[in-house]
Symmetry: D3
Subunit: 310 residues, 6 copies
């Protein structure tokens, strides 16, 4: 089955697609139609379902995975898909591999990097807590996205984000004379609560626990429990709980306590930096030099400029 990026003109298409944005319109002869965005891991395409019926209203809903038969054509220099038929794919029949976008670095490579960082840590209590968590959550840790939004999210986004932060931490801890073990353990664990906060498998949504507690509180409790079960008596669990609790930097952003140790402050600054840079890079992906991006919601709805090639 062809992926979207492989479509050419006048293709006959059969396959599963994820529905992105959906809008309804009226065509020239008065009938109603759906103009929708179909997605798979390779990209997205605009598709039209002409002569929409009332039944179609239950099918064309953002987030549904649908089985489509259709034909491609070219409109205003872009490929479109004319949908001939569409039905909802039951959850158990979804071909997950069609939808998981590969991260910029291969998942296997990320797992190796993640575990290398774990091995690099000398503090025993950090080690024990990391291994406890990996033991308990590695499946989800290795596959979860970094955030709930479906737009352009990788599978393994959580892993990618954790590893990138550890990369940066490894560079910065020397400049600011921070504790390597505590700082890197914080990078590896700070967002792990998301494996409980979110539920998959394809379109990630907030779980009930996610809504009522949030990934920060969830993870603080997890560390406390680990420390108890592992009978740790050093300050390390407390320092890690504090880092997780404070890593969003301020109450307005979900951290009821602000960073109060050097490592907690540095972790929150690296997290802030990486999160924003990932967002701006996504926003600029398809922008031509000399143009502005669309509005970027998590960055105050600003539009970003991509300078000209000179």
């Amino acid at each position: 089955m062809k992926m979207i990026s492989e479509f050419t003109d006048h293709d006959h298409i059969e396959g599963q697609f994820l529905l992105g944005s959906v809008s309804k319109g009226v065509n020239a002869n008065g009938g109603s139609y759906f103009s929708v965005e179909l997605r798979d891991a390779s990209g997205s395409i605009t598709a039209k379902k002409w002569d929409a019926t009332l039944l179609d209203e239950d099918i064309f809903i953002t987030g549904n995975v649908i089985s489509v038969i259709g034909e491609t054509n070219r409109y205003k220099d872009a490929l479109q898909l004319k949908i001939l038929s569409a039905t909802i794919v039951p959850l158990e029949e979804i071909d997950v591999n069609r939808f998981l976008k590969a991260p910029p670095i291969k998942k296997e490579e990320l797992i190796v990097k993640y575990n290398n960082y774990v091995t690099s840590i000398k503090n025993e209590d950090c080690q024990k807590i990391l291994k406890y968590m990996i033991n308990k959550y590695s499946d989800k840790l290795y596959s979860y996205p970094a955030a709930v939004s479906i737009h352009h999210e990788y599978s393994s986004g959580l892993l990618m984000h954790s590893v990138t932060m550890a990369d940066i931490a490894t560079f910065l801890y020397k400049i600011y004379d921070a504790d390597y073990d505590i700082l890197v353990t914080g990078c590896l664990l700070h967002d792990l609560g998301k494996v409980i906060e979110l539920e998959g498998p394809i379109v990630y949504k907030y779980s009930l626990e996610g809504k009522l507690l949030g990934h920060i509180s969830i993870m603080v409790s997890e560390i406390r429990k680990a420390a108890d079960e592992l009978k740790l008596s050093s300050e390390v669990p407390l320092l890690l709980e504090h880092m997780v609790l404070s890593h969003h930097g301020q109450p307005d952003f979900g951290s009821p306590i602000m960073p109060l140790t050097k490592e907690a402050l540095l972790l929150s600054l690296i997290d802030n930096l990486d999160s924003k840079m990932v967002v701006v890079n996504k926003a600029l992906t398809d922008v031509e030099p000399g143009n502005f991006s669309n509005k970027v919601f998590p960055l105050d709805n600003r539009t970003f400029y991509k300078p000209k090639d000179e």
Copy 2:
């Protein structure tokens, strides 16, 4: 040994006192002196140490418990104490009973009320968690103050606050059709994290855990741990964790998640109401009718008016 409220004019006084506010001045003949507030459970009195020496600077510090020899006299219609000698009392020699103010309701009575509320709860998971916590923390739960400030705080303030909230909850749950068991369990547990957040025994201060995590996060972890150890599988622990997490009502006040259940909302509103009313009642305690109180810091520095008796 006489308590402050029993002092009369021309008394010879020997005893332990807690130092409240401290200020230094210069007397008519050029010597320096300390004007301080001495406290015990029965009240407070202004005291003067004339001809202060450099040594006195290490003694007269707010929060110290000092052993004093002195004599009372009358100045501008109020009793004062002239301090003849003062030394610091070592922690282990402090006579704690002189400083614990009795709550408006007797501690024993509060304990009975608290336990009656526990007994009144039918939901088994609520019961189990409550008993787990009482088993673990009853000593501190029965004796801790409700807040860190030493000013006019009762011993057992935490117990008093919890019981008053349960009283109000028992009246309101019927009006708003809320779940009695969940709501009252929330009242009894919501501030229990303070027994870890604060450290006594007399002048309560924030512990390291209190500073780095706060009583809300501490208690959320405690409930999660209790639920795990007790192998509870219902929604109840999650609902209780959410209530504790959200009971300050909004991120600015320490709750990263706002109340999302009826009972969590009602708990936060009762807590807000009781906390503010206790503060305003303290502020108005010694105000004469027709006058304004001092500025009340936790209520936006407002000054409150006590209407005339008419």
Copy 3:
């Protein structure tokens, strides 16, 4: 004439209905149609007007009361109404009784409770002002809603809110040693300015005075005027004006002066508590256990969770 709650399948319906939400769509054969919500005091029903004409655009407007002929049918397990004809009902022909939802407690009972509270007050100046106001505004006081929104509002909502607050005040004044007479008079009068701020009879809207002054300022002036006409010389009118002025608690919420007496503070806290609990109860009315409500606008657009029945 049948009320909406009495409709069954295949009924022929004739009667007056209030238009709630209105949306326009396109049916399978290209014609446009209206999908609207019809309401009466007993409930609401989705109705469709197929083959809409341009004339229908002036009829199907939220807030209109329309006379409808139609037939019920069943769609996706719910009753719908197919509208065969619809015309606007002139204001003077509206059958008001079809639209006034009865409050949870009977209006007559509420009036008795309200007047019992008036009688219970011993302070003469409070008594005089209360009677002055009842004399002047009882008609509207007994029938007005508690807020401008038509959604799920009772007739007599203002009365219901005032009486509930007095109920709570009667419980709390003892706990916090507040002045019963002043506090309860405040409960009974604090929102009375709404009878001038809003205009009825069915769909309540802001009057010109309501927009330019608001119910708080209106009521402060009313009390001042009453006190002058009644030649009262005590502090009571000032205390009542202050309570009304400050009962929204802070400038952002419409109170230019924050509460500065114990009774004013307690009134504002009870008002805050009752207003929010009424809102959350409405929001959860039709939510199934284990689900979330829709977004609740006056509570920061949060969605509230109704716990599972266990």
Copy 4:
């Protein structure tokens, strides 16, 4: 008796002065002393009371009017007063004329201007309300300061502010096509509530009504009462009440309703402009060209620069 501005070196001084800022220090030989600011309508001078006694602590309090015997001398190029004796002046013996600073324009002239504006207004209801108010409050209207602060305030500051605003309104109403009568009546009445909000005679403080209601609410009630007594039936009283209510521009600054008519908006903008310009002019009064003023509290604690003379 000499005014402060008339003091020269080596004068013997006897007279009444108002105490501005007060601070206490220690002199070279170990005694304590007071360094205070003495004021009268003509200016201020630094004064020293050496060898202060405990009795002096009840005398040298900001806001007291004291009777002083002393001698001037020169210190660091400025005149100082050495206080030989000081006693508090009883309220009834205060020589008010020594403390009322004359406004930049003579009071008599301001009264003429104010009344000319009243006469210039053609709208009968505006006229009636203005005359009602002048009749009731002219004494205070003609003598009150514009704000509670004692620093550099004129007597007749309220009158000065009202007249200046009317001057500006008379220029601007033509540019923006506003209603002259409504706008100017607003200028003349908007702050009149201050005659009830503040109490004199010399050091103006907030009255009980001022604290519990504020001058805005007080004046809204006054206009409503006037309109009732005068049996006015036009929109004019409502428009004036709205102007007064909204003239601080936004809820944070004391206006629960923001301006909703052109004239109310213009009034609030003129008030804002005049209030700030008066403050900045005061702050720059004694600043040398090329220097910055002290911090100006009502203007965000900024310091203002006076450009060089070039």
Copy 5:
């Protein structure tokens, strides 16, 4: 070619129009249509394009200038235009004069007034900078709008705003003893950066420089450059740069430094006053007495009331 204000019933119309708001609907027989607002300098008219085709979707876009053939008719007491054909007008064929609304005062008159103000200034450095700027930017200065919005904007709005502010400054500088030359130069230059911030010719949009720097920073640099080229050594350029930098009054509104001189403060207050009054006057233009305007976005979405004619 007739202007919109000259249309009568049953006119045959051919001409260029600017497209204002655009909405799409469905007519009685199921076809789709466009309902649009056409504008020229004389006013606006509602127009309908029935039986819209897919091609029309590229034509009927807000901001396009289209060439229209159509016929007027009357609907609900208002003239409408039935569009028979519509095509986009290429940029170079736009008849600019049809779209530039004349300001309330004639452009020529405004230019005279502007230059009279320039001549009235005695300070040589102010003079030199003003002439430098006029020399460089007079074309745009004389023709630009005051803001980016196309709604009801004049050509020469920038000139109109600058001259009105100078008018008000000329009245106020005497009242507050401000420096005429500095203040009026500020009025004439403060918004001149808009000639670089915006790009025309008809529908003004933000230029790249406008987006990345804003008119305030642009103008500060311009003055600095002028001062360098003109080799000015007085404080005047710094004072003017500061006035431009601070004229929006506070950081939230685009001024990183708040006004710190009397003239800068006064300039920002006059700018605030004129900007808001122009907005409210526009909003009330077509409102009938006794009614409210639409929501006014730049004034907190308030709706303004136009009092009854009495």
Copy 6:
């Protein structure tokens, strides 16, 4: 002359010192004394001037450089200095080298690093602007502190901060695929406006231009001027101006325009990170493990915890 770090017990000391904090007290026999902090580049020491005279009040003022004769002694395990005589050092006689703290990296090394970064940049316009600025400002660029506070500030702090940011940029530009030349040029230039904003030589204060314009506006103008003089026509100057303008990240922190390019965003994030880490490192310098720092003003007055050595 000995530096402070070289003092031992019973030393006779003569030399210049900078006065840090100053407080006045009263000694045992009633005389007044000064307790001050003396500083030089090597550290600080508490010093006492017993038997203070009125003349001393003009000498012991924070920020003065004084010439001291004194003797060291030991008090509570710390060295103190007893001041025997103290006089103010005239500006021209200050021995600057005693007060300039060396940065953690040698100044010469920093200059080499800075210039290596300049050389590493390939974009010609970036190169030209950098060289223009170095040519014009290298003296001050190489010696200025990074901020106005004298506390613990290095000489060459500005250079240190610029070079550290370039170090981090060189690591991060690859991760986020940013433009190396633009980003590093931004790091090297972003704070250069401080050489005009501040005035030295020892205690740096805001200059007039610094107060009225701020270093951001100053630098934007400088780049614009450079670009004009160098006749650059690429987008580069605009991109650099935008980076400088936006590098504080948001209006509240002094950037009227928020970052709108990837490089501007990254620059602001690196600046934020380095500034905060430098502050927290200073705050923790002398804190013992297991303790909290003093309140850190630029970090919301938080106190930071230094974990125990375990």
